[in-house]
């Protein structure tokens, strides 16, 4: 089996400002089966909690649009997860 690749997958950081925004984010998490990095369960997504999640390349445009539509501020922490995976090994042998 070939290892999973994460080309152009992104990690978003969103802090919902109120219950409505938290619900939007929970909806996105469910609909797109997002990989929550922090907190680690959908149950814990709430207003004023910083939420980090990983998004596939395919879904990232739709996620961004939904966040924009709902006037939710976000930051893209990682633009290409695969690139960061490769960059982890930044210490030379020896």
């Amino acid at each position: 089996m070939a290892p999973v690749r994460f080309d152009r997958e992104k990690v978003f950081r969103v802090k919902p400002q109120d219950g409505k925004q938290a619900s939007v984010l929970k909806g996105l998490t469910k609909a797109h089966e997002l990989d929550l990095w922090y907190p680690d369960a959908i149950h814990d997504v709430a207003a004023n909690i910083t939420v980090d999640f990983r998004v596939s390349e395919k879904d990232s445009q739709a996620i961004q649009s939904t966040l924009d539509q709902n006037k939710m501020q976000y930051k893209i922490l990682i633009h290409d997860v695969q690139e960061e995976i490769e960059k982890q090994f930044d210490v030379k042998d020896g």
Binding site: Y38, A41, K87, Q88, F89
Partner: protein, 308 residues
């Protein structure tokens, strides 16, 4: 033959196993390897005991790598063993600690998941056990401990990252750890578990917002430990009970160990605060371990002095 082990790099499971053998060989008086069980995929679970042969002395139990993708955690456990053995007889504090207490270090708790995260899926979190009536694999071992196990609704779906398993201690890895800790309960005075990321030092409880009976004591230890961490590279940690500092959680090893009677239990969420998340570059392993080491040594000194 696995390649060369390095404390400044991430090591795969084969390298870690070879490293445990080497540590026992190099420090036979100080290090012994105990097989505490095996995993769902029949890999061995090893604890390294650091200290003298005397089992009656106070001890600190530490585990790393309960979540597969949190690679900096096993890196710290290896670093701890290295520093402990290397600095015995040279560093006054470590010598005093090892003369008077033992450390049980489980370098990788979720071995199957760790291997999977190296070979197939870098983002894997759970173990690799099969689930009945589901094609989804794995249980979150940090939801599988027998403490308020079924209280969180977001942990009962095998396809979720936080799946708690079919029953408390259903997983061989959990069972092995709990059996070991129970059988050494008369000596273990502190339990410390290492995660990443978010730079926090957490203590009970997670399953309730009630404060632990010795809350003030835990706050005092955590405050000093996080202050100590910042002395090296000014890395800022926050501290507090799990439920109010991050979010409520059930079935965690930390709460389980506390309710079993180990009154000093801590969880480190190591670097960083999100720039890299689980993908912390190797160049940050050393500084992360160095600053964490200061806090762990402080906690151990506190345990030595303040527990009976």
């Amino acid at each position: 033959i696995p390649g060369r082990h390095s404390y400044a790099k991430y090591n795969d499971w084969d390298k870690i196993v070879a490293w445990t053998e080497k540590m026992v060989e190099r420090y036979p008086e100080m290090v012994s390897r105990i097989k505490i069980g095996s995993t769902a995929e029949n890999n061995p679970l090893y604890v390294l005991k650091i200290g003298k042969k005397d089992d009656k002395r106070k001890a600190v139990f530490m585990d790393c790598g309960i979540h597969a993708r949190e690679w900096v955690s096993p890196a710290f456990c290896q670093w701890f063993v290295y520093q402990a053995t290397k600095s015995y007889g040279r560093n006054k504090i470590m010598t005093k600690l090892l003369d008077r207490m033992n450390f049980y270090v489980l370098p990788v708790l979720n071995v199957d998941g760790y291997i999977w995260s190296w070979t197939q899926d870098r983002m894997w979190r759970k173990n690799r056990s099969k689930n009945q009536n589901s094609t989804c694999i794995g249980t979150d071992l940090n939801r599988n401990f027998d403490v308020s196990w079924n209280s969180n609704p977001s942990t009962d779906n095998p396809c979720w990252q936080t799946y708690r398993g079919p029953a408390p201690e259903s997983e061989k890895e959990t069972k092995a750890v709990t059996a070991f800790i129970r059988s050494h309960l008369d000596s273990i005075r502190a339990y410390i578990t290492f995660h990443s990321y978010s730079q926090m030092l957490l203590f009970p409880y997670g399953y309730t917002t009630k404060l632990a009976p010795n809350h003030k004591d835990l706050v005092k230890v955590a405050k000093i430990a996080t202050d100590v961490i910042s002395t090296r590279y000014e890395t800022r940690y926050i501290y507090g009970p799990i439920a109010s500092t991050i979010y409520p959680t059930s079935g965690s090893s930390l709460d389980w160990a506390y309710d079993l009677g180990i009154k000093h239990t801590f969880a480190f969420e190591l670097r960083d605060k999100g720039r890299f998340g689980f993908l912390l570059p190797e160049s940050q392993i050393k500084p992360t371990c160095k600053e964490t080491m200061l806090a762990v040594k402080f906690i151990a000194r506190y345990i030595l002095k303040h527990t009976s």
